[in-house]
Amino acid sequence: MIVASSYRRWRGFARNAGSIAGGVLVVCLLLLAMLAPVVAPHSMEGMDASARSLPPSAGHWFGTDQFGRDILSRVIYGGRTSLLVGMLSVAAAAAAGISVGMSAAVLGGWWDDVLMRAIDVLMAFPDIVLAIGLIAIVGAHFGDLIFVIAFTRLPDFARMSRAQTLLVQRQEYVAAATAIGSRRFRIMVRHILPNASAPLLVLGSLAMAGAINAEAALSFLGIGVQPPLASWGTMVADGRRFILNAPWMAACPGIAISVAVLAFNLVGDGLRDAFDPRT
């Protein structure tokens, strides 16, 4: 029964033109990032004094920067940083958020109250403001940045997994598992989590879009990815200084951010349409 309906839902996802486009884009972006040394036409740091600040042309599709570096190659390499930060922070946010949400729902009582009030407090900060506050505490090294972005995404996962767990917990198969003496942890992992996973998958995809955007925003503000590492956000920030004479320097990495965010948003939307029983 569950298998058949989930098959139908995946088919619904596959029939949606938007989600297909999003899925194809996501795969392409991941491949580009993974195969950067093979696909990038030039090296990331290769400078060419004779080719400074060139506009887009056949030789340099996205033009070159103030050091004569090929922007297309930098965008491809920069995607590694941006996508990696996005994936790791969403994975961390999901792991922590789901643990918080499920344990709050399963254990209940004061534990639930304490955790949920803490989540309420976190949600009282606008995203970027919370991120800036956390960066002030932990710093802005690569690992810190992942922690900070994960922290801003955590409340969504916690709330969603708590709500889903409360729903699934009432099902008869959970009662049956309890009756035959399964341990609480086993019930959580084997029975509740798989049945609560569809909305979390939707959230994960939308959170990925949000995380890429957040990394870009923080890097643009100068408090995200630090040099010598480059991401799409730092490239837009660098290009901003040359906006008068070489607008492509800021515009091209921005296109990459928009395409990546759009791709994950499309996948998330497609998943929601396919899995949300209300639609």
């Binding site: 407090v121 995203d127 506050g133 921005g254």
Partner: protein, 309 residues
């Protein structure tokens, strides 16, 4: 209604206290001694010890927190290290610009979003719907700071129509047009999606069928009967997204060089100015909590069903 308001306000109190605890922790968990940071190159051990005592930094943390809360209640947010001014004064100078920016952006967003959302809902599943949904999706996905840069390149550098941002005192109100447009566009995308789904819900209602059955003209049904009812959830969700707009002002103000709260926040973190950072984060978050509270109460005032939940 009165009981509902009291309950909502009581709910907000622990959140506000939690926010103050978090913001208080900022300065105490952050690496580095605040006195060392404050004195900079004028550091002298005996003077630092006196200063530490004067600031109450040698007392237990709980006492310090209460002292700090009492100061906030009196409107004293401390003194900025880098800008040699009271934090409260700085916030007072910067807040009006940010509010103007946020309100202007929300106004632009609704002006774009409502007609588009209504059109998408009436033509659900057809070409106009697909186009406006795709446009909204693209709008949501474009980073605000990048859209801002594109607007500057196009309208300011190429066409020379508008100033590329800057302060209102210097360039007049025109300086806010592009920033409001950048922030508003990304927000419009969100508002459009909400308008569409809210309108779709309302258009299924029986009273819409009744209105059509008794011969009310199509346009009138949409704008007078349906939109009016759809507006309540639209305004609510848009109001609750105020935090997104506040986050957006940080980026917009940076791109357009507008001296507002967002820039103040970025200046504070760049300069490691912890008192200023504390003050700006506190004020921004409290503002957000207050707006959410106001939206909740207004929603209940408009829709009596909410109060009984």
């Amino acid at each position: 209604m009165q009981r509902y308001i009291i309950r909502r306000v009581l709910f907000a109190i622990p959140v506000v206290l939690g926010v103050t605890v978090f913001v208080f922790c900022l300065i105490h968990v952050a690496p580095g001694d605040p006195v060392v940071l404050m004195l900079g190159k004028f550091y002298d051990p005996s003077f630092a010890a006196r200063e530490r005592h004067a600031l109450g930094l040698d007392r237990p943390l709980s006492v310090q927190y209460l002292m700090w809360l009492a100061n906030i209640a009196r409107g004293d947010l401390g003194r900025s290290i880098t800008q040699s001014n009271d934090v409260a004064a700085l916030v007072g100078q910067r807040l009006p610009t940010t509010m103007l920016l946020a309100v202007g952006a929300m106004a632009i967003a609704l002006t774009i979003a409502i007609p588009l959302g209504v059109t998408a809902a009436i033509r659900a599943g057809r070409f106009a719907d697909h186009v406006s949904r795709l446009a909204a999706m693209i709008g949501v996905s474009m980073p605000i700071f990048w859209l801002g840069l594109l607007l500057i390149i196009f309208f300011s550098l190429q066409l020379g129509w508008l100033p590329p941002g800057g302060s209102v005192d210097e360039f007049g109100w025109q300086a806010l047009i592009l920033p409001c447009l950048a922030l508003g566009t990304s927000f419009a995308a969100l508002a459009m999606r909400i308008t569409r789904s809210s309108m779709l819900d309302v258009l299924r209602e029986d009273y819409i069928r009744t209105a059509r059955a008794k011969g009310v003209a199509g346009r009138r049904v949409v704008y007078f009967h349906a939109l009016r009812n759809a507006m309540v959830p639209i305004i609510t969700v848009v109001g609750l997204q105020f935090g997104t707009v506040l986050s957006g002002t940080v980026l917009t103000e940076t791109v357009f060089n507008i001296p507002g709260m967002g820039r103040l926040l970025v200046e504070a973190i760049s300069g490691r100015d912890y008192p200023l950072l504390q003050g700006t984060i506190l004020v921004t978050s409290l503002l957000y909590v207050l707006v959410n509270l106001a939206v909740d109460i207004l929603y209940a005032a408009c829709d009596p069903r909410i109060r009984y939940h």
